[in-house]
């Protein structure tokens, strides 16, 4: 059996005793005496536990990634470098990001600060971080602070973003380290087994041989069962190291995303070219979450309020599923069979997602409405696509919602009302009434049934307004709403 090998603050760690169900946060605090990272929630929402790990860009270039250590299982650290707030100062001199945080008074009680500093650290070494407020919001929205009101943290971020030297003594070792996530791993401790095979065939074999085995991809959903329900998984199969599952590709008519591609990578790949997807990903979780959360995990966890499904339903995504017995294709429309239930058979893995490129006559957008704009679960999310043929006739309509039913699904009655009719405000207003046939949403703490239904109607009307001028509208830099209607009269 292998032991885990990784670096914490440049010190090589070989670990063979800690349970694979140990989170990195508990490991740092309880076993290594590194109490800088804090537990503020153990559910990925406060960011006090943020650390930086070595990761890689879609192109395979090593870089720094901020992650929630409370949701990061220890074996996921194998082969990586981990930095915590304790590891940044050199010979008593604070790192530039620490100095900036002190100078701007970015800490008051200081409890959120170690996490804030690590998100600043990532920002410091990012070379793709734009300086507009939206990009800065995205970078820090995973770090809650109850004291400062964020203004000083924003100032610190502006001061240090993108200023890092690629070869200094933090970024240098990371950039020089061999690509991570490519070394097959079998780790057993405490009677629990964590396997991260290096090929899809091996992964399928493990799954076939071990029916009790639970698949883990980024672990942002699964780890909650460990931290909140105090479950311990006896067998975990990680997909992280399977190269086929981590590929992003684009051909003449489609995008292809491996199921284990982190959402941050998809966001980067599609930011400027695929507005509907980019709009959804901008308000998905936080930066830390998006570094780990994968498309496959989001679709397979089958949450009725999962944000990827509605937009992918509207875009006509197709899935590839593999098991030892073979492969099959499935339109996303057929994945969900009931509340949190999927058409996946035992032994099957979702391997990749194909999204057709948008036809020239398409108008498409995506929406997310939640109590708080950032890092919140949707009350309603939606993906909408219509194709407008000659004489402004609607030739195809794919209108999908999350949060409106037990599964993410298309509004087929609305679509029927639209297709064949002209794309006008009156037609849309009439079609909206059909939403009542498609959905009977529920009341819960996120939203009332009234709100869900009202918003669903209004989003469809808003979609019509929004796509008048631009067929694939992007979001403005500082949106006040998921709808971009500022310029509408």
């Amino acid at each position: 059996m292998t032991s885990l090998r990784f670096y914490i603050n440049d010190e090589l760690i070989e670990e063979s005793e800690a349970s694979p169900n140990t989170t990195l946060l508990r490991y740092l605090r309880d076993r290594r005496g590194l109490t800088g990272a804090k537990e503020g929630c153990a559910e990925g929402d406060c960011g006090a536990c943020t650390v930086v790990i070595s990761g890689e860009s879609p192109a395979g270039e090593p870089l720094l990634r901020a992650v929630n250590s409370c949701l990061f299982l220890l074996p996921m650290a194998h082969g990586r470098r981990v930095y915590t707030v304790e590891g940044l100062a050199r010979n008593g001199t604070m790192h530039a990001v620490q100095q900036a945080a002190v100078d701007t008074l970015s800490s008051q009680c200081g409890f959120c600060t170690p996490g804030v500093v690590m998100s600043l650290l990532e920002a410091h070494y990012r070379d793709d971080l734009e300086s507009n407020p939206a990009a800065l919001d995205d970078q820090l929205c995973g770090n809650l602070c109850r004291c400062t009101g964020y203004r000083p943290i924003r100032e610190a971020l502006v001061r240090i973003a993108g200023k890092g030297q690629r070869d200094d003594d933090i970024a240098g070792p990371i950039r020089a380290s061999p690509p991570v996530g490519r070394q097959a791993l079998t780790y057993e401790a405490d009677g629990e087994l964590y396997q991260a095979p290096g090929t899809l065939d091996e992964a399928l074999s493990v799954l076939a041989a071990e029916p009790r085995c639970r698949i883990v991809s980024g672990g942002t959903d699964l780890s909650l069962e460990v931290t909140k329900a105090h479950r311990r998984f006896p067998r975990l199969l990680s997909l992280e190291n399977v190269p086929e599952l981590r590929a992003i590709g684009r051909d003449a008519d489609s995008w292809h995303f491996g199921a284990a591609v982190p959402l941050a990578d998809i966001e980067q790949a599609t930011a400027d070219t695929f507005p509907p997807l980019a709009r959804m990903l901008r308000y998905f979780g936080s930066r830390q979450i998006k570094h780990r959360a994968t498309l496959g995990g989001n679709l397979c966890t089958a949450s009725p309020i999962g944000d990827c499904a509605p937009v992918l339903l509207s875009l006509g995504a197709r899935l590839r599923l593999r098991s030892r017995e073979g492969a099959r294709e499935l339109p996303l429309d057929e994945l969900y069979t009931g509340y949190r239930a999927t058409a996946l058979l035992p032994g099957e893995i979702l391997t990749d997602v194909t999204i057709p490129l948008l036809p020239a006559d398409a108008r498409a957008s995506a929406y997310k409405v939640s109590k708080r704009r950032e890092l919140d679960i949707s009350a309603v999310s939606a993906g909408m696509l219509v194709r407008i043929g000659p004489a402004s006739t609607i030739t195809e309509a794919r209108i999908a919602f999350g949060g409106m039913a037990a599964i993410p699904k298309r509004a087929l009655a609305v679509e029927r009302e639209l297709v064949g009719r002209p794309w006008t405000g009156e037609v849309v207003a009439r079609a909206v009434a059909a939403l009542e046939q498609d959905f009977t949403p529920i009341d819960d703490h996120r939203a009332s049934a009234w709100y869900r239904m009202s918003v669903a109607c209004n989003l469809l009307c808003g979609f019509f307004e929004e796509t008048r001028a631009r067929h694939l509208p992007a979001l403005p830099p500082l949106p006040s709403s998921t709808l971009n209607l500022e310029s509408a009269p």
């Binding site: 537990e39 304790e86 008051q108 203004r151």
Partner: protein, 772 residues
């Protein structure tokens, strides 16, 4: 802002970094849960009531005790001393006795070798309940006449007459929302048993003395056997004023019984489930205005949801009543308050301490009046703001001295270009179908002092060593508000030594006894004066020594600055502070001194509802602008301008942080923080995944904060003013701005009806109503 380095000396009235900033950003700063544990430390966990109201039929810990790793199990009967931790009234058992009175009430405590063992131990507890009917709202308690304490009354002038004369009458009911503190560090304590029955407690508490007292009572020992020490707190906001004692007392209970150190740390779910919140209030009001928008008479009945015990609720209700006038003169007032007892966790102190709830009532009324009269709400506020006599007395008959409100109107509104922007917004709204904007102005007047007069005292103990370095002990706790930074600046100025030579010690009941909580924004006012007085004593002792060393008369003026004691008339003649300190020691002069401070002249008579409960008032003003999507109800606060009165700020960078942080916390209370319980009284929103405090992007990118200049406050340390709580209420400006935007959506005829918190759903409902 260029900050001086910590060794520049004399930091008073200059921007300075946070005293712990460097330790915060390097991870060196320790919180209780970070402490290296003494060998043999056990952890503890709590067993909670699943019922809002029930009789406990049966409880048995035998099975739990047999779980591997469990060392002890406790129920109420196992408490040797007094099983009670009520801070004012003795009505709060530490562990439930015959009945449970809220979901999350602590029924049992287990201590074991690991948190895994404790979880198994809790699961193995056998407790049977006979459920009783719970009361879960103010209305339930009212219907059952279940109140805590008497009516609280403030009466001035003839309401009936004023109301009769009014040309516009506004009546209604306002529900103010609850709020979870969401300090980032959850409640935690480490209890270490010592010899001779003594106990040392490390607690994350704003009130070390109360922890000391309650631990002693629960253990049945004298206060002298308990020391409570606080290194720093990861955020308190009032939530650790009275409610940290339970966690500390439970840890101590287990530590005494097992004779091993015990740590009790609450995970976020547990913390949120069992601790009290900001009190939700119901206000039934009637207000009369004349045709020009002057308030003539106001009648308000306030009902506060106290939860199941008294806790600090009577003082919170008082403060709410004291702030029903907001920043405005109320010629005839009839204010009545009542505490309702419900089967919910006992609601408690939270930044503003009832003040925000009171102010929200009158500012809602002024907004409604402005809408009714078709006036600019800022103008209605100006007309009603406290002014010169006779419009300068509060309903409880305290004079509003040093009134900064006129300056706030005159300086902030033009600086924020309020009038021009309001016009531009209205023009924008006229041309925009879906997106609407709004602007709002909020003046704040907030009374400073504990309303319980005896709490307005503080002590300090300052030690000088023979190398000229200094330790400062004072009664206040550091929870991020920057109190230690201010104390450092004060001490550095008094003794003329660099801040690097001064160490602020952890707050401990063995250094400064019988302290008040660090609360009511009073930390630097009270402790700053106490430290100043101790330093003055020390200086007076050092002067004769230094004079002798310099060969001058004791009556010659000496200055203490830059680490030197020098002759004022000839600064070249000097000795280092260290030399003087050492010489004092050689001369057998004591180098440690205590200091004390008690706020003069405050009093209040509940029987007449009059007095001077406040030493002074703090003021502030904010202008906020919002942009609202009328299709989803989502909105963004696009710009905020604040002008705040922090007196002659002790450390402006710290005060700015309090203002910005307070504003955003107030924003959360009024907008995204939507606390939900199910019909059985269980908290649904138990973590940040469901309870949404403002995040990074909710803070406006245009966020301009200025401190009022030339605003020295007489009689307060270095002319400064308390700043912790007042800015919280500036966020009401956002609600006024939202209402402005909604008026552009249509006219329902009956005015805007916006329920709080103003979530997108609540905003869309209000807009829908406007449109109907």
């Amino acid at each position: 802002m260029k900050l001086p380095s910590p060794d520049d000396g004399a930091l008073l009235h200059r921007p300075s970094p946070h005293e712990s900033g460097r330790r915060h950003v390097t991870g060196e700063a320790l919180y209780v849960d970070d402490f290296p544990l003494p060998p043999g430390t056990l952890v503890a966990a709590v067993g909670l009531s699943p019922h809002a109201h029930a009789r406990i039929r049966h409880r048995d810990g035998a099975a739990a005790l047999s779980v591997p790793g469990i060392r002890a199990v406790f129920f109420a009967a196992d408490v040797r001393g007094d099983n009670c931790i009520g801070p004012i009234v003795h009505d709060e058992p530490l562990l439930a006795e015959e009945t449970v009175n809220c979901v999350g009430q602590v029924v049992a405590l287990v201590a074991g070798e690991s948190s895994t063992a404790c979880r198994a131990g809790i699961a193995a507890l056998q407790i049977a309940y006979d459920p009783l009917a719970p009361r879960l709202s103010i209305e339930d308690a009212h219907a059952a006449s279940d109140f805590i304490g008497p009516y609280h009354l403030i009466n001035r002038g003839d309401f009936a007459e004023g109301y009769r004369r009014a040309t516009h009458r506004i009546e209604g009911t306002l529900h103010t929302p609850p709020q979870e503190h969401f300090y980032l560090e959850t409640q935690v304590a480490l209890a270490i048993p010592l010899e001779d029955g003594a106990m040392h407690i490390h607690s994350s508490t704003q009130h070390p003395t109360e922890v000391q007292h309650m631990v002693a009572r629960v253990l049945g020992i004298g206060y002298h056997r308990v020391v409570c020490e606080v290194n720093r707190i990861g955020g308190g906001f009032g939530g650790k004023e009275s409610q940290a004692t339970q966690v500390a007392a439970l840890a101590a209970l287990a530590a005494r019984a097992t004779n091993r150190p015990v740590k009790l740390w609450l995970d976020r779910d547990t913390d949120m489930a069992i601790t009290g919140k900001r009190h939700p209030f119901r206000a039934d009001y009637r207000a009369g205005f004349d045709a020009d928008g002057h308030l003539l008479a106001l009648d308000v009945v306030l009902y506060a949801d106290a939860g199941w015990t008294t806790d600090l609720s009577p003082a919170i209700l008082d403060r709410a009543l004291f702030h029903l006038d907001g920043a405005y003169f109320v010629p005839a007032a009839r204010f009545t308050g009542r505490l309702c007892r419900t089967n919910l966790p006992s609601n408690t102190a939270f930044r503003g301490f009832g003040g925000p709830q009171g102010m929200l009532v009158i500012d809602t009324i002024l907004n409604r009046a402005a809408e009714r009269l078709q006036m600019d709400p800022a103008e209605v506020r100006r007309r009603n703001a406290y002014a010169d006599a006779p419009r300068n007395r509060t309903p409880y008959d305290q004079e509003v001295r040093y009134n900064r409100l006129p300056r706030l109107f005159d300086e902030l509104l033009p600086a924020a270009r309020y009038a021009g922007r309001r016009q531009a917004i209205e023009a924008f709204n006229a041309g925009s179908t879906y997106v609407k904007r709004g602007i709002g102005f909020q003046p704040v007047k907030f009374g400073i002092s504990f309303t319980k007069s005896m709490l307005n005292q503080a002590g300090a103990y300052v030690l000088v060593f023979t190398d000229g370095t200094v330790q400062v002990n004072h009664a206040g706790t550091e929870m991020g508000q920057g109190l230690h930074t201010k104390i450092l600046a004060i001490c550095s100025a008094e003794l003329g030594v660099a801040t690097g030579a001064i160490r602020i010690m952890s707050t401990s009941t063995e250094k400064v006894p019988n302290t008040s909580p660090t609360a009511a924004s009073s930390g630097s006012d009270l402790n700053g004066q106490a430290v100043q007085s101790a330093c003055t004593t020390l200086r007076h002792r050092l002067i004769p020594i230094a004079a002798a060393m310099l060969g001058v008369e004791e009556t010659d003026e000496l200055t203490f600055a830059s680490g030197l004691v020098s002759l004022a008339a000839d600064p070249a003649r000097s000795r280092t502070f260290a030399e003087v300190a050492n010489a004092a020691w050689m001369a057998r002069i004591p180098l440690a001194a205590t200091g004390y401070y008690a706020t003069p002249g405050i009093h209040f008579d509940p029987a007449t509802g009059t007095g001077e409960p406040f030493y002074y008032f703090a003021f502030g003003g904010a202008v906020a602008e919002v942009e609202v999507c009328s299709l989803t109800g989502q909105y963004r606060v696009t710009r905020v301008d604040i002008l705040h009165d922090a007196g002659n700020s002790l450390v402006p960078s710290i005060d700015r942080g309090q203002i910005e942080g307070g504003f955003i916390q107030g924003l959360g209370w009024l907008t995204t923080e939507d606390l939900r319980r199910d019909p059985a009284g269980r908290l649904i929103t138990r973590g940040p995944s469901t309870y949404k405090i403002p995040s990074f992007g909710d803070a406006p990118t245009e966020f301009f904060v200025r401190l009022l200049d030339r605003a020295a406050q007489p009689g307060v340390i270095h002319g400064s003013k308390a700043v912790g709580e007042p800015p919280f209420m500036l966020a009401i400006s956002v609600i006024t701005a939202l209402r402005h935007s909604m008026r552009a959506c249509g006219d329902s005829g009956s005015g805007v009806e916006l329920s709080l918190p103003a979530t997108p759903e609540s905003v869309l409902r209000a807009i829908t109503r406007q449109r109907s």
